[in-house]
């Protein structure tokens, strides 16, 4: 019984395979001083897609840890401080609009007061592109169980557009694509084998963003 339990726990810890690809294009040189900060902003639009808040939080967690953590200003704090200029329908859509935005009263001073050097717009989402299989679970007075197998394939596709607020220019873009299939096997109890393409895209994008910002790549 104990072996079965251990086997179940180990199985549930198995991860499905994820393939990911990170690409970068640089427009200009970058670098960041210790007192300077970066803001990650999720793009939101009023269609059926929106960058998940959990994804930008995941990137922020990765950037804020390690030997060389990057100082981050929280997204909600930045949006509140610069209200109404970074709301979904009022935010600049390209770095070319920064010049005009900075002429608005108080905007440049507010950004300077918190030493925000870079702004990274995170755009994308994770979608289920395929699913199938079948599994049924029953329960009765004599016990219960699940039998069968189901799967779902997810695709995570994100892009970070990095703007330098000091020079008011776009410094480059980084894209991350990850794809993986998760399985749920019913062997009396349901055993999940989860692929986490969103997590893989987050880590890949965050590590590349760190290297990009500090000027290592």
């Amino acid at each position: 019984m104990r072996n079965l339990f251990v086997a179940v726990i180990l199985s549930s810890l198995l991860s499905g395979c994820v393939s990911s690809r990170i690409e970068q294009s640089r427009d200009s040189a970058t670098g960041i001083e210790s007192h300077e900060a970066i803001v990650l902003l999720g793009r939101a639009s009023y269609n059926d897609k929106q960058t998940e808040e959990s994804f930008t939080e995941c990137i922020a967690d990765v950037l804020g840890e390690g030997d060389n953590p990057i100082r981050l200003i929280e997204q909600s704090q930045f949006r509140d401080d610069l209200y109404p200029w970074f709301e979904p329908r009022t935010a600049p859509t390209s770095a070319n609009e920064l010049g005009k935005l900075f002429t608005e009263p108080g905007v440049q001073e507010r950004i300077a007061s918190v030493n925000v050097r870079y702004l990274a717009w995170i755009d994308g989402d994770t979608v289920t592109i395929d699913s199938g299989g079948s599994m049924s679970c029953t329960i009765s007075t004599f016990g219960g169980g699940c039998f069968g197998m189901s799967y779902w394939e997810e695709d995570a596709s994100y892009e970070a557009a990095i703007w330098d607020l000091k020079t008011m220019t776009s410094t480059g873009q980084i894209s991350a694509d990850a794809n993986g299939t998760s399985y749920l096997a019913g062997l009396i109890i349901p055993v999940p084998i989860l692929a986490r393409p969103g997590n893989a895209a987050c880590k890949g994008l965050a590590n590349q963003l760190r290297a990009f910002i500090v000027g290592e790549s």
């Binding site: 939101a44 009023y46 059926d48 929106q50 998940e52 808040e53 959990s54 909600s76 949006r79 509140d80 401080d81 610069l82 209200y83 109404p84 200029w85 709301e87 979904p88 329908r89 009022t90 608005e104 009263p105 108080g106 905007v107 507010r110």
Partner: protein
């Protein structure tokens, strides 16, 4: 016997009410109230918030997800109090117009926000991953003598990711974002409206440093007082 029957019926009705009550989700909307960083409109305005605006509630029953009772009055009021305080050179809450000449002495005009419509969607209705909310505001502005400067309809949208067991939080966030979005558009776009620009120009030309314009009307009881604003709705420019 009759008494027992009556008692049983009462218990049944109470039980049914309790069941119905338990299927209703109540949300009191709460969120941040940021102060806008915008150009100040150089005018001292009286602001009138109707009781409906102050205590706005939306109730709706869906067959699948039960009833919803969403109270957005307080958040809406706090948001607009902060918004108008940043948007105009001076604000003072006033009673329902018309105001007397004396009451208008230190004011250049009256600003009246109202809510025309509120609506929301849950993922089970929209088929999307998000909860969404929209608020249609109407803001009307009147000058010192009660003549309508203009009125504008502004729609604010908000959406929020929702978990299976946190639909109330998601509706709260979507609604707070919709208020915020509507407020952002008012804060940015109101000053650029041609009618507002014309009014500011004429006010600048007429106004004396410490008093109202020469020959200011006795009261704002003109044909275009707020009471008759419905007549003007059809010709109102959209913001």
């Amino acid at each position: 016997m009759q008494f027992r029957g009556l008692l049983r019926q009462s218990l049944n009705v109470t039980a049914m009410l309790l069941v119905l009550q338990s299927c209703t989700t109540s949300v009191v909307v709460d969120g941040t109230v940021p102060t806008p960083l915008v150009s100040v409109i150089p005018a001292r305005m009286g602001v009138y918030y109707s009781d409906e605006f102050r205590r706005f509630k939306h109730e709706e029953v869906f067959r699948d997800s039960g009833g919803w009772r969403i109270d957005l009055g307080n958040q809406n009021l706090r948001f607009f109090q902060n918004l108008t305080a940043s948007l105009f050179a001076g604000v003072q809450e006033v009673h329902q117009p018309p105001l007397t000449t004396e009451e208008m002495r230190n004011l250049d005009g009256v600003f009246i926000p109202s809510i025309e419509k509120y609506g929301f969607l849950t993922p089970s209705i929209s088929g999307l991953k998000f909860y969404s909310a929209s608020i249609e505001y109407r803001v009307a502005m009147y000058d010192k003598v009660g003549t309508k400067i203009g009125d504008w309809n502004i729609v604010g949208y908000g959406k929020s990711e929702g978990g299976l067991f946190s639909s109330d939080e998601a509706i709260n966030e979507a609604t707070a974002l919709a208020i915020r979005d509507g407020g952002a558009r008012i804060a940015i776009e109101l000053i650029d409206q041609p009618a507002v620009q014309n009014w500011l120009r004429s006010k600048h030309e007429l106004i004396e440093p410490s008093a109202g314009p020469p020959g200011a009307a006795e009261s704002i009881e003109t044909p275009e007082t707020p009471e008759t604003r419905e007549e003007n709705v059809g010709v109102a420019p959209d913001a």
